[in-house]
Symmetry: C2
Subunit: 337 residues, 2 copies
Amino acid sequence: MDDVIKLSHGSGGEVSRKLVEGMVESYFSNDVIARLDDSAVMALGESGGRIAMTTDSYVVDPIFFPGGDIGSLAVNGTVNDLSMVGASPVGITLGLILEEGLAIADLNRILGSIRDACREAGVPVVGGDTKVVEHGSADRIFINTSGIGLVAAGLDISSSNAKPGDVVILSGTIGDHGIAVLSKREGIDFETDLVSDSAPLNGLVREMLRASGQIHAMRDPTRGGLATTLNEIAAASGIGITIDEGSVPVKEGVSEACELLGLDVFYVANEGKLVAFVPADEAQAVLEAMRGNKYGREAVIIGQVGSDHPGLVTLRTSVGGSRLLSPLSGELLPRIC
Amino acid sequence: MDDVIKLSHGSGGEVSRKLVEGMVESYFSNDVIARLDDSAVMALGESGGRIAMTTDSYVVDPIFFPGGDIGSLAVNGTVNDLSMVGASPVGITLGLILEEGLAIADLNRILGSIRDACREAGVPVVGGDTKVVEHGSADRIFINTSGIGLVAAGLDISSSNAKPGDVVILSGTIGDHGIAVLSKREGIDFETDLVSDSAPLNGLVREMLRASGQIHAMRDPTRGGLATTLNEIAAASGIGITIDEGSVPVKEGVSEACELLGLDVFYVANEGKLVAFVPADEAQAVLEAMRGNKYGREAVIIGQVGSDHPGLVTLRTSVGGSRLLSPLSGELLPRIC
């Protein structure tokens, strides 16, 4: 056990997971939190309704990057966490921590971006809180967004519900957000079209739920990337996942940037993509619904679920071999979200 | 208009209020947020139920202080914000921002404190998020707690609902939290009994609601102190408030510390106190209910509401005069919560 917090504790990978599972869960174990889904789902009194709740703090560096900023990222991230359990967003709250000396113009730009993101997602900001700390006690601006949403009767979408016979659908290219932020941070100018995929996915999920009542699991592969998300679902559902590497769409610029930087795109963060686990015979209907939405146009089947190798993710490589796709183990990209 | 964020923007007083009202509200105005209550109250679909939601980020310095720490403070603060609109807490989320190098022992101590505070309030942690930033990019630990609660049918408790004829009830002594934090921060050792009043008030509010269905407004006077809270209620309700200075309980040690430090106790933060506005003929029943709860034992009537001087708070001083009690205007105590 470490004595002090390290950057890797926040990476979204194994070390981070162990910190969260080992420490936080040991203090707060209950039925709701134990599911480790992107949002908690709770029954509401005697009404029969269920509400989803989620929270995320955003510390991304830089605060402005190609395709978005810390404001839109925060709104989209919270909208997406609600969407991943099938909840329709009802309201979000904003907790701002500002560093003394932050330019008011930057704050205005970020608030405008939050407003626009809320409009696109159709969710109101219902409350907020602003704290200011001395220069040097924070890095410009940190944003917490928390959100609640309503879960329709009959839905039970959870990382623990993927089943043998499901296919794995990915909504589009991977790695865009992580590479866009990294290129801006490091001052590397790969290509003009390298932009974050940050986007609200509630509209896409609404279309998917209309097409099928049989979506078993959904997640947006953020910190830790697609590999880590798939591993978490494999572990939570006790199933094995096989992914066909060649079927996973990656933009050419992202692929080149990963090669240059020595990164595996499967571990790079996304902020506007989802993976869905659905029975094979429902897949076509879900795919068609996704492709009709602007955030799902490139949706494809990338793999299958089996009962062999429970808890593991196997990658069938483009050259015909296969290897284990392990979860992110250490530090990859700090402050990517 | 300032160009950069100043510490006074986070003080909870006039400057902070203008920042919040002028900037944030201009971006996000809607019916719910416009009430500026401690929690947002929203109707839930067709069920007829209403849910309250609130968020707060905690950046208190020092993180451990007499009578509490940043963890229990965060839980109690969110429980209290829900309680102030009459909501029963259903769940809270934890957003942790950790500075690289934070001692794991400190984190464990804080998580344990959060767990204990949740137990006392009877509210589960239903979700969380952990981010780690580089050494120097935050100050040890910042905590966001967001919470949701259920609002019983028929309740309409709001800062905008105080009415002429109401009396103002205060649940106990003021200034304890601010002075406890300040004494620890400055290394001043006033007295051993100077401890924060940080406490969950949901049990107290439950007893009050049992005693009377006519509570018009409730607030916990945190940042900006009792004076700022009363001014906000006076403005939101369009009423005038008269406070009898001699009736407001202040511990001797707090009073002495304020004198020594040149602070006006009416502007010092509290974290386990509330003010309630109730019709005069309901006051005795509410007071008795409060005095039966450990967090309301010293509850007293401290003033009345009239229709004269709407938006203003008048203090009848102990020596027989009267003066205007204005809201906090600048910076008093940074990072008090």
